[in-house]
């Protein structure tokens, strides 16, 4: 089976800074793939390129067999790419249910159906009790979940999660992990950027490590964390020798 998402030799330069250089990754259908790497590795840039916030300087992005390199974010959403934002971007003056309805309108043109879909997603993500609350009144963990709910309402094939588990209490993070598993069980492929290794590693099927804009290592989580190159990237040379 072909990959759901593929980046082919993707470069992104911001002036003199090379954020991504020759990144080629692929994500298979039904996988949970973790995108990790130290600060400044180019994870967020790659993420934005895949979501269509900006086109890459060079290279191409193939989604579901189609070249989407030059499609804007809204068009990619229609084709099945859903995303969350690292810094949450709720529609603050709207209620939780209304936030989710915006996402549901991508595939439901009739309001009543969009509303029903939105309720369904709130039930799925455990936000049903907060449906009529203003998004601005949610606590941070709930706002993260609302990001996921909104993206799920667009009925994506691929869900891009940008640090949804970062900055949560351990209990909240565990609830988040359970939700990601549930999403995958619903048949949605997940690509997640994450900082907290001990949470992410048991969750993902495969990890891709970026460093200095390049793919450093890619493989099973257990192998990746033992890889000397990864340890070096995170902790420096001295520790790599020890390993």
């Amino acid at each position: 089976m072909t990959a759901l998402l593929e980046t082919r030799g993707v470069w992104q330069r911001f002036g003199g800074l090379v954020a991504n250089s020759d990144v080629s990754i692929s994500v298979g259908r039904g996988e949970i793939v973790g995108l990790i790497g130290p600060n400044g590795a180019g994870k967020s840039t790659l993420f934005n390129l895949i979501a269509g916030v900006l086109p890459p300087t060079q290279g191409s992005i193939i989604f579901d067999g189609e070249d989407v390199t030059n499609l804007p974010a809204a068009a990619r959403c229609q084709r099945g790419v859903g995303r969350t934002f690292q810094v949450v971007k709720s529609f603050e003056t709207m209620t939780v249910i209304d936030n989710v309805i915006v996402g549901a309108l991508v595939r439901n043109t009739v309001m009543r159906e969009a509303r029903r879909k939105a309720h369904e997603v709130l039930e799925f993500t455990g936000l049903a009790a907060r449906a009529d609350v203003l998004a601005s009144d949610l606590v941070p963990a709930e706002k993260r979940r609302l990001e996921v709910a909104r993206a799920l309402a667009t009925e994506p094939k691929l869900l891009l999660l940008d640090e949804v588990l970062t900055g949560l209490t351990p209990t909240e993070a565990q609830t988040g992990v359970a939700l990601v598993r549930k999403v995958r069980d619903a048949g949605i492929t997940v690509l997640m950027v994450e900082h907290v290794m001990e949470i992410v590693m048991p969750l993902v099927d495969r990890a891709i490590v970026l460093d200095l804009g390049k793919v450093l290592v890619e493989g099973k989580p257990a192998d990746v964390v033992r890889d000397p190159k990864v340890i070096k990237a995170y902790l420096g040379d001295r520790h790599a020798v020890g390993a």
């Binding site: 979501a51 916030v53 804007p72 974010a73 809204a74 959403c77 229609q78 859903g82 995303r83 934002f85 971007k89 709720s90 529609f91 603050e92 003056t93 709207m94 249910i97 209304d98 309805i101 915006v102 996402g103 309108l105 991508v106 043109t109 309001m111 969009a114 509303r115 029903r116 309720h119 936000l127 009790a129 907060r130 449906a131 009529d132 609350v133 203003l134 009144d137 606590v139 709930e142 909104r150 993206a151 309402a153 667009t154």
Partner: protein, 327 residues
């Protein structure tokens, strides 16, 4: 929850129908021409502000140049009527269409601007429009256009002996603008607009066509405001650039919505019901020497509102939100 929502929508519609019915009956009891005049203007500004609210309140693109569309509505109608004998009813639709097209034409470059930059652009464009009409000989230039009086007629939409037809038209306009808002509020457009206002980047990631959302809002908003302009021209039967395209109209469309509650269904009506009678009365009380007093009233109200109720008067009535932790 769906039932709650549907019930709320129905309740709004019933309240609006009752209010409209009461308004429609008031001329039976109010015979004073001055008061009738104030009621007509109040209804007109309520409708205008409601229309302004679509672009600026719901979609978040604050315009202080809507006087342009008001003036275009007035001029299109009267130019067609005086030069080509086209009935004002058709002129009204033509004015709406012209304004909607120009709003979209202007939106094409200006919707790239954000925040204050957009606001400034709208002010400048309206001022340019004003200057163009000042110097356009064929359209009467600074002298303006006097609408020829042909006697009371619904066909030509002019009435000398009574103000009642104007009253009912203004009421209809207000109801139309309200109903359009009510209807769009629970449509894809309504949701897109609010999403664009709150966070365009997130909206885009959810498949919202941000640019076309703004274009749509601008077109609907400009169309309705232009219809108001056509009505006003017939009502005062004389127009010149200042009297239909002056900056004060832009303000008088924005202020009721801001006062009542920007981006809300009832805000503009509530705001207009308070603001317009107040300013008309002060103007009436102080006569010619009182020019400027109404501006003091606006200023004071705005300061009070921004200090005490930044989300408008309507926030006094909104039910307290459940802010407790999740169950």
């Amino acid at each position: 929850m769906d039932k709650d929502f549907a019930a709320r929508r129905r309740r709004d519609l019933i309240i609006a129908a009752v209010l409209a019915a009461i308004a429609a009956l008031t001329p039976l009891f109010v015979k004073d021409v001055v008061v009738q005049n104030i009621m007509i203007l109040t209804l007109m500004y309520a409708g205008l502000s409601q229309s302004w609210n679509i672009l600026s309140g719901y979609c978040g693109q604050i315009s202080l140049g809507h006087a342009l569309y008001f003036g275009l509505g007035a001029y299109t109608t009267e130019l067609l009527f005086t030069k080509f004998g086209v009935l004002p009813w058709f002129g009204m639709l033509a004015g709406g269409a012209v304004s909607a097209l120009i709003a979209m034409g202007l939106g094409y470059p200006f919707f790239r601007l954000r925040g204050h930059y957009f606001v400034i652009a709208t002010i400048v464009i309206a001022e340019i429009g004003l200057l163009l009409f000042h110097n356009w000989e064929w359209a009467g230039a600074a002298m303006g256009i006097t609408i020829p009086i042909r006697g009371d007629s619904w066909l030509k939409f002019q009435f000398l002996r009574t103000k009642l037809p104007y009253f009912y038209f203004a009421l209809a306009l207000c109801c139309l603008a309200w109903f359009v808002t009510w209807w769009l509020e629970n449509s894809k457009w309504g949701f897109w607009w609010r999403a664009v206002k709150d966070n365009p980047e997130a909206a885009e990631s959810l498949g919202v066509d941000v640019f076309n959302s703004k274009m749509g809002a601008a077109a609907v908003s400009a169309f309705l405001v232009a219809v108001g302009g056509s009505f006003y021209a017939q009502f005062v039967s004389y127009i010149d650039p200042e009297s239909v395209m002056g900056f004060q109209f832009s303000l008088l469309m924005a202020l009721p919505a801001v006062l009542g509650g920007i981006g809300t269904l009832w805000g503009p009506v509530l705001g207009a019901a308070i603001l317009i009678p107040l300013t008309e009365l002060t103007r009436f009380k102080f006569g010619g020497s009182g020019r400027g007093v109404d501006l003091i009233v606006y200023g004071t109200l705005i300061v009070l509102i921004s200090l005490a109720l930044p989300r408008g008067l309507l926030s006094l009535f909104s039910r307290p939100k459940k802010t407790g932790a999740a169950r």
